[in-house]
């Protein structure tokens, strides 16, 4: 038993020596491999974590949102529409919601203005999201001019700044009182942006939604799990760019492994012959090749995954920020909690370590079984 272990240790000695003979080539190989794993693992960690957090947070969204449409486009909804809906069985509450967009020309940023119904805001003041506070460098007590829809500026005093930890959902929010918002936006009394509903039984949502469209044909209900599905699709594997990235990288990896697998150089063949001639069995040669594959791929895998973890969970995935930020000037700062999915990691492991190790052993197989006699010539 200890002889078998010692034998493998000897083979590993030999393998490491063999790898170190070509420091440059093998170093570059390790670097590229690690980089590939780093990119893939970063994407996996980032998207998985974001999905988990989004699901946890948005499950508190309203059960059903009712929008009004006119000629297929969004329109304000009369608040009295709520009365027609109260008769629907299963609805626990209905409330109007007032919100809208605001474009801040000076900073090239879009904000979302909202009127909270619980914890209302005092007239003349606003609560702002942490993203706006950082962008405009303003704090509590500062006076902010906003240009109303009549073109005239109105000033508001900042009363609160929304918690930074909620930046992912609130970075661009400005909360104001209803009276202020109606003056500001000129949404007339009796109208709201949409209605939000809570219902008792989630399984009845679609039925309720259908009833709403029947009672109010010019409305469009949106149900909560549709909201969640929208975001799940963005961050799941199927999302366009992520899938493309994955496919390209995995493909490149397979091409590389295939190239490696299709043949040994004459020198490598001769060496295997020498090893066999001096007394190595076929099994020893293949074991050595196995260690060679494992040495590089395991190190690359662990190194790439560890650096990816640090990048995403300690560094906030900063390399992805430009892609996610796009054209927006206001980007929420968020630290992702480390949700690591074992399935993701296993998939990455099997798609990288296994093909690479096979690619290292396979070409040696044919040579390793030849009679060592050939090397005598």
């Amino acid at each position: 038993m200890s002889r078998s272990i010692e034998r493998q240790l000897h083979l590993i000695d030999f393998t490491v020596g063999s790898i170190l003979r070509r420091k440059g080539k093998n170093g570059a190989l390790l670097l590229v491999y690690t980089l590939v794993i780093f990119v893939l693992a970063s994407v996996l960690f980032f998207t998985r974590s974001l999905r988990t957090e989004v699901a946890a947070v948005l499950k508190n969204s309203p059960d059903i949102i009712v929008q009004r449409t006119l000629t297929g486009r969004y329109q304000f909804i009369p608040v009295r529409y709520a009365d027609s809906l109260r008769s629907i069985r299963g609805i626990a509450s209905i409330a109007p919601r007032l919100w809208g967009y605001y474009y801040d020309g000076g900073f090239g940023a879009n904000y979302t203005l909202m009127v909270p119904t619980i914890d209302t805001v005092q007239s003349g003041t606003i609560d702002i999201g942490s993203g706006i506070a950082k962008l405009r460098k303003i704090g509590i007590g500062d006076i902010v001019p906003l240009i109303g829809y009549d073109g005239n500026p109105q000033t508001f005093t900042v009363a609160h700044i929304l918690a930074d930890e909620s930046a992912l959902v609130s970075a661009d929010l400005i909360l104001m009182s209803e009276a202020d918002y109606r003056v500001f936006s000129r949404i007339p009394e009796g109208y709201a942006t949409d209605l939000i509903l809570t219902a008792r039984n989630p399984r009845e949502f679609p039925t309720i939604a259908e009833k709403i469209t029947r009672l109010l044909p010019d409305t469009r209900p949106i149900v909560k799990n549709e909201i969640l599905r929208t975001y799940d699709a963005v961050f799941s594997w199927r999302a366009g760019i992520i899938m493309l990235l994955f496919t390209v990288v995995i493909l490149a990896f397979f091409i590389f492994s295939f190239d490696k697998a299709t043949g040994l150089s004459a020198e490598e063949r001769k060496e295997i012959g020498i090893l066999k001639a001096i007394g190595w069995e076929t099994g020893d040669v293949l074991a050595m090749k196995f260690w060679e594959g494992i040495a590089i791929s395991l190190v690359a895998f662990f190194l790439g995954a560890i650096i990816a973890y640090a990048h995403v969970f300690f560094g906030g995935g900063f390399l992805f920020a430009p892609i996610l930020k796009g054209w927006s000037t206001l980007y929420p700062s968020f630290t992702l909690a480390a949700h690591v999915n074992a399935g993701d990691l296993f998939a990455l492991f099997f798609l990288s370590v296994v093909p690479y190790t096979i690619a290292t052993i396979a070409p040696a197989w044919r040579v390793a079984v030849i009679d060592p006699d050939a090397v005598m010539r």
Binding site: R220, T230, Y231
Partner: protein, 102 residues
């Protein structure tokens, strides 16, 4: 030091770091749940429906609530916002609208 010792040692060290990070993940997940709860209550009180992740246009900011043809409403000549527009798929509510069945 013998080469195999170095190699196996490296492997063990890397695996140990990976394990530590996984433990860290477990610990972090608990902290996250608390933060998520606070954010969740903000979502509930304000009735929020979308993340403030893509603020460049209305249809990227509230993709759940957007109209079918909103991408072009910024102006007749406006282009789609890339890469955000490519990252988002049309919301389920538009793909499968709730229609009254008669």
């Amino acid at each position: 030091m013998r080469r195999s010792t170095f190699m196996i040692g490296t492997g063990v060290v890397l695996a140990a770091i990976a394990l530590l990070l996984l433990v860290n993940a477990g610990v972090g997940a608990e902290r996250a749940t608390i933060a998520d709860a606070r954010t969740g209550s903000l979502v509930a009180t304000l009735g929020l429906t979308d993340l403030a992740l893509f603020t460049e246009a209305s249809y990227t900011r509230h993709p759940s609530l957007t109209d079918l043809n909103t991408p072009f409403q910024d102006s007749p000549l406006s282009f789609e916002h890339f890469p955000t527009g490519s990252l988002m798929q049309p919301p389920a509510s538009l793909v499968h609208p709730h229609v009254a069945k008669y």
